[in-house]
C-alpha cells in the first residue's frame, strides 16, 4: 500500500517536472532565460511589503473568479461568461458609488449587495438561456459578456462620463466613502480578505458536506441520469449560476471598489479567463485552486518587472501560464499518465 503511494507521488512529481520543462522550452524558444524570468517575477511579486499587497490585490478577484468557476464546473457548466458576471458586479458597485448613496459610509456594504445580485442575475440569465432555450452556456455566456462590455462602454462615455470630457479612461474616481476601508499604512484590504475566507469555508462545506452540493456535482456528471433520481437537474443548473454568478459579481465589486476606485472599460482585467485556466489545471479542488491562484497572481504582479529588467513584453506571463496549463493537461491525459506511471513502476520495481 505504501509502495503504491510512493509511486503515485513520483508520478505526480514527474508530471509537474514535465509540465515545467514544457513551459521552460517555450520561454527558451522565445529567446529568454527561464531562470532569469522566474526569479525576476518572484522578486517583483514578493520583494517588498508593498509588492506583496499588490499581489494580494490581484489574488482577490482571481481567487473569487476561480471559486465561482469551481461551483459552475461542478455543475458541469462551461461558464466562459464569467467575465460578464464580473463586469456586471463592477457596474453594480459603480452604480451605488455614483448615486447619492456613494457619499455615505454604508456605500461599500451596499456595493456588495448590489454587485453580487447583478452578477447572480447575469449568471441566472445564462442558465435560463441554457435550460429554457437550449443555448449552450459558452455562447450564451460570451453573448452576455459582450452585452455587459457594451453597457460598460456606454456608461463610461454616456451617463457616467467624466466631468467635462467623456473618455475611455474611465469614470471619475468614486467618493472616498465608497472606497473599501483598508488597514495599516500598507492599505491592506481587510474586509475583502475576510469575506474571501468566509466564502472558501462555505464552498468547502457546501461541496464536500452538504446534500445540495452532492446533488450539484451529480448534475455535473450526468444531468440525464440525475433526473431519474427524482430531482430536477435544471434547478441545480440555476443554483450553480446563481452562486457562481454572485461570487464572480463580488470579484467585480472588488475590482471597482477596492482596486481601481472607478469604472474602467477593461474592469475585469481578463481575470475571469485566467481563472478558467487555474480551474482547468487544479481540477475543481478548492485548496489546489487557491495555491495555483496565488502562483498566478504572483506571476502577474511580478510580470511588470519583466519589461523593466529584462526588456521582455509583459504578455510573456500569460504565455507561460497558458503553456504550463496546457502541458499539465497533456501529462494528465489518460494515455500519457498511464505511460508515465508504467515507466515509473517498472523503474521502481527494477531497483528493488
Amino acid at each position: 500500500m505504501i509502495n503504491f503511494n510512493i509511486n503515485n507521488f513520483i508520478t505526480l512529481a514527474t508530471q509537474i517536472v514535465l509540465a515545467a520543462i514544457g513551459a521552460s522550452l517555450i520561454i527558451i524558444l522565445l529567446g529568454a532565460s527561464p531562470v532569469e524570468v522566474i526569479t525576476s517575477i518572484f522578486d517583483g511579486a514578493f520583494g517588498r511589503p508593498e509588492k506583496i499587497v499588490k499581489t494580494m490585490l490581484i489574488f482577490l478577484p482571481i481567487s473569487l473568479a476561480a471559486l465561482a468557476l469551481i461551483i459552475t464546473f461542478s455543475g458541469g457548466l462551461w461558464n466562459i461568461g464569467i467575465e460578464g458576471q464580473i463586469v456586471l458586479g463592477a457596474i453594480g458597485a459603480s452604480w451605488v458609488s455614483k448615486s447619492f448613496l456613494g457619499e455615505s459610509n454604508i456605500s461599500p456594504y451596499l456595493q456588495l449587495i448590489v454587485g453580487i445580485s447583478m452578477g447572480s442575475a447575469w449568471g441566472l440569465l445564462c442558465g435560463l438561456l441554457k435550460v429554457k432555450f437550449q443555448v449552450h452556456e459558452i455562447f450564451g455566456g460570451l453573448g452576455l459578456y459582450f452585452v455587459g462590455s457594451g453597457a460598460i462602454i456606454y456608461l463610461i462615455l454616456g451617463p457616467w462620463s467624466k466631468q467635462g470630457i467623456a473618455s475611455t479612461s474611465g469614470t471619475d474616481i468614486f467618493p472616498k466613502e465608497s472606497w473599501f476601508p483598508t488597514v495599516s499604512s500598507l492599505n491592506i484590504p481587510a474586509l475583502p480578505i475576510f469575506i474571501i475566507c468566509l466564502i472558501i469555508i462555505a464552498i468547502i462545506l457546501f461541496l464536500s458536506f452538504s446534500k445540495l452540493g452532492l446533488k450539484l456535482k451529480a448534475t455535473g456528471v450526468n444531468p440525464d441520469s440525475t433526473n431519474k433520481f427524482q430531482f430536477n437537474s435544471n434547478s441545480y443548473i440555476y443554483l450553480a449560476f446563481l452562486i457562481g454568478g454572485g461570487i464572480a459579481g463580488l470579484a467585480g465589486v472588488f475590482q471597482a471598489g477596492v482596486f481601481y476606485h472607478k469604472l474602467v472599460p477593461s474592469i475585469s482585467g481578463g481575470y475571469g479567463f485566467l481563472a478558467i485556466l487555474v480551474v482547468l489545471a487544479s481540477g475543481k479542488r478548492v485548496v489546489p485552486t487557491l495555491l495555483l491562484t496565488l502562483f498566478f497572481s504572483a506571476m502577474i504582479a511580478g510580470g511588470s518587472q519583466l519589461q523593466l529588467r529584462l526588456n521582455l513584453h509583459s504578455s510573456l506571463i500569460s504565455i507561460i501560464l497558458s503553456s504550463m496549463v496546457f502541458f499539465w493537461l497533456v501529462v494528465n491525459s489518460v494515455p500519457v499518465k498511464k505511460n508515465i506511471s508504467r515507466i515509473i513502476n517498472r523503474g521502481h520495481n527494477a531497483s528493488f
Binding site: L142, G143, G150, T168
Partner: protein, 317 residues
C-alpha cells in the same frame, strides 16, 4: 457612382476575412468539433501573414503561411481530443489565450509598419456591371476567393458524398463507424481544413481588410465569428449572410462616428444579442415536432440544427 455602390463594395470587401473564418468553423463544427481557439488563431495568423509578407515581399507566401499556422493550431486541438482524450473546449480556450498573447509578444517589430499589398484583379467587362462589378470583379484575390468559397462549401456539404460523411460524423459518429467510416480520421481532416481557412481569414485581416499589424489587431473578431457560425445555423450560405450583415453594422457604425461616439463603440457588439435571439428562434421553431408546420421560407431563415454530436468526444469501440 450609383447610390450606395461604394457602401456595398466596402461591405463585401471588409467581410472577406469573416467569411473565410465562419466557413472554416462551419466545416469544423459540421464534423462535431468546436474549434474554440479562433480568437487566438486569428491574431497569430494575422501576424504570421503580415510578418512573412513584409520579410519576403510576397503577400501570397504570407497568406499560405497563415493557413499553415491555422492548420497547426487546429491539429493540436483535434490530436489532443482524439488521441489523448482531452476536452476540445479546454484546449481551444487555452490556445485562445496562448496564441493571442504570443502574437503580442512576437509582433512588437511589426507594429504599424508598411508592407506589400495584393493587387486588384480587374476582370474586363464584368467589372462594369453595376454593383456586382466593383464588388466582385474589381477586387483582390482574397475577396474573390472568400466569395467563391461560399457556394463551394455549400455544394461540398450538401451535395457531395464527402460532405455527407462529414455531416454523418458530426451527427452520429457511432452509426458512421458502423457504415465503415473512420470518424477520427474525418474529424481530423475536417478540423485541419477548417483551421487552414481560419488561418486564411487571419491573413485576410492583416493583408487586406485591416491592413498591417498592431497589438490585439483582430481583437474580439474571433468571438464574433463564433457567434456568426451559430447565427448561420451551420449553413455556409446563411453564415455568409450573417457575416455580410455584420459588415453592414460596421459600416453604419463607421458612418455614425461623428454623430454618436458611444454608439460606434457599442454597435460592433450587436452580433451577440442577435446570436442569442437566433438561438432562441432555432429552438422555438425548429423542434422536430414543429418543423413540418413551419412555412418553408421561415424554415430557411430560422431552421438549422446544431450537429447532434458537437463538442462531444468520440466513443472508442
Amino acid at each position: 457612382m450609383l447610390p450606395f455602390e461604394s457602401s456595398v463594395v466596402t461591405v463585401i470587401s471588409l467581410s472577406a476575412p469573416i467569411i473565410l473564418v465562419v466557413i472554416g468553423e462551419t466545416i469544423t463544427e459540421k464534423s462535431g468539433v468546436i474549434n474554440l481557439s479562433i480568437e487566438g488563431t486569428l491574431l497569430i495568423t494575422a501576424l504570421t501573414a503580415f510578418a512573412v509578407s513584409v520579410t519576403t515581399g510576397s503577400p501570397f507566401l504570407g497568406f499560405l503561411c497563415a493557413g499553415l499556422v491555422g492548420s497547426i493550431a487546429a491539429l493540436v486541438i483535434i490530436i489532443c481530443d482524439t488521441k489523448l482524450g482531452m476536452d476540445q473546449i479546454a484546449i481551444g480556450f487555452i490556445l485562445t489565450i496562448f496564441l493571442g498573447k504570443l502574437s503580442s509578444f512576437l509582433g512588437k517589430e511589426y507594429v504599424r509598419i508598411p508592407g506589400p499589398y495584393f493587387q486588384e484583379l480587374s476582370i474586363p467587362i464584368l467589372k462594369d456591371i453595376p454593383y456586382l462589378g466593383p464588388s466582385f470583379f474589381d477586387q483582390n484575390i482574397i475577396v474573390i476567393f472568400s466569395f467563391l468559397m461560399i457556394p463551394a462549401t455549400w455544394y461540398f456539404i450538401e451535395k457531395t458524398r464527402l460532405g455527407l460523411i462529414v455531416k454523418a460524423v458530426g451527427e452520429n459518429p457511432v452509426s458512421a463507424q458502423n457504415r465503415g467510416i473512420n470518424p477520427e480520421k474525418v474529424r481530423i481532416i475536417a478540423t485541419v481544413v477548417g483551421g487552414i481557412l481560419i488561418g486564411f481569414g487571419g491573413a485576410a485581416f492583416s493583408l487586406h481588410a485591416k491592413f498591417g499589424w498592431s497589438e490585439n489587431h483582430t481583437g474580439n473578431y474571433g468571438w464574433i465569428c463564433l457567434a456568426i457560425v451559430i447565427f448561420g445555423g451551420w449553413n455556409p450560405i446563411r453564415a455568409a449572410i450573417g457575416a455580410y450583415s455584420f459588415g453592414i453594422f460596421q459600416i453604419i457604425a463607421l458612418k455614425m462616428q461623428s454623430v454618436a461616439l458611444g454608439l460606434t463603440q457599442v454597435l460592433p457588439l450587436i452580433p451577440f444579442p442577435l446570436m442569442i435571439l437566433t438561438l432562441i428562434f432555432i429552438q422555438r421553431f425548429n423542434r422536430s415536432d414543429r418543423t413540418t408546420n413551419l412555412p418553408k421560407i421561415l424554415n430557411a431563415f430560422f431552421g438549422g440544427q446544431s450537429p447532434e454530436n458537437i463538442g462531444k468526444p468520440l466513443e472508442k469501440n
